[in-house]
C-alpha cells in the first residue's frame, strides 16, 4: 500500500517558483516528511525534512498543514539544473520503519 501520492510529472519555466504537493493521508503521529532529489545517473540527495508547519533551508521550503495529511515542497526560482525527480517519503518516527520510495515527480524546467 503506497504511503504517499504525488504527481508523476511537472513542467516549469526557468525563474518560476515550483510547488510539488504530496498526499499522505495515513501519516502516523511520529512520522516525519522527507524529500529527496535525484539527477540522472546519480543517487538520491536529501533535500529537506519536516514534522509540522514550515521548514526552510538554502535549497527549498517545506510547508505542512496542521492535519499533516499533505505537504508541499517549494523550489524558488527554478533553473535548468533543478530538472530532476523529486521523492516524498513519510516515516522515521520512534521505531524502525522500512523506507519506501514511490515513483516520484519528474520535474522538467524549460528555458
Amino acid at each position: 500500500l503506497a504511503k504517499t501520492t504525488q504527481p508523476i510529472s511537472m513542467d516549469s519555466y526557468e525563474g518560476q517558483e515550483v510547488n510539488i504537493t504530496c498526499s499522505h493521508n495515513n501519516i502516523a503521529t511520529n512520522d516525519y516528511i522527507t524529500w529527496y532529489q535525484q539527477f540522472p545517473s546519480q543517487g538520491p540527495r536529501f533535500i529537506i525534512q519536516g514534522y509540522k508547519t514550515k521548514v526552510t533551508n538554502e535549497v527549498a521550503s517545506l510547508f505542512i498543514p496542521a492535519d499533516r495529511k499533505s505537504s508541499t515542497l517549494s523550489l524558488p526560482r527554478v533553473s535548468l539544473s533543478d530538472t530532476a525527480v523529486y521523492y516524498c517519503l513519510v516515516g522515521g518516527g520512534t521505531s524502525y520503519d522500512k523506507v519506501i520510495f514511490g515513483p516520484g515527480t519528474s520535474l522538467s524546467v524549460i528555458p
Partner: protein
C-alpha cells in the same frame, strides 16, 4: 568529507555469473541500506544493516541475493547466478543511527546482465 562510494560503477555479467558489489559508507554512519532501482522507477528497498547486524532483509527478491557487513563498515551485495531481470542500478546509502530518513546515497552500480 568523503561521501558514500560504490564500486564498480558499471558491471556487465553474463547470465549465470556471480557478482559482488561494494559499498563504502560515510565513516561513523551506523546504518546502511541497499536499494535496487529499475529504469524510470524509484529506488526499491533491499536490506538494512545497523552496524554489522542485518536487521531487515525483507526486500531481497530471492535467495540468490545476499548482503553482508561483517565489521560494521564496508558492505557487499552479492548476487549469485545472475539473471536478466537483475539488470538495474544498485544503490547504497548510509545514515547516522536513528536518523534513517536522512540518508546519504552513493552513485550506484549499474549492473547489466547479458
Amino acid at each position: 568529507g568523503a561521501g558514500v562510494s560504490q564500486s564498480p560503477r558499471y558491471k556487465v555479467a553474463k547470465r549465470g555469473q556471480d557478482v559482488a558489489l561494494r559499498c563504502d559508507p560515510i565513516s561513523g554512519h551506523v546504518s546502511l541500506f541497499w536499494y535496487q532501482q529499475a529504469l524510470g522507477q524509484g529506488p526499491e528497498f533491499l536490506t538494512y544493516f545497523q552496524n554489522e547486524a542485518q536487521l531487515d532483509k525483507s526486500g531481497l527478491p530471492s535467495d540468490r541475493f545476499f548482503a553482508e557487513r561483517p565489521e560494521g563498515s564496508v558492505s557487499t551485495l552479492k548476487i549469485q547466478r545472475t539473471q536478466q531481470e537483475d539488470s538495474a542500478v544498485y544503490l547504497c546509502a548510509s545514515s547516522l543511527d536513528r536518523v534513517i530518513y536522512e540518508q546519504y546515497f552513493g552513485p550506484g552500480t549499474r549492473l547489466t546482465v547479458t
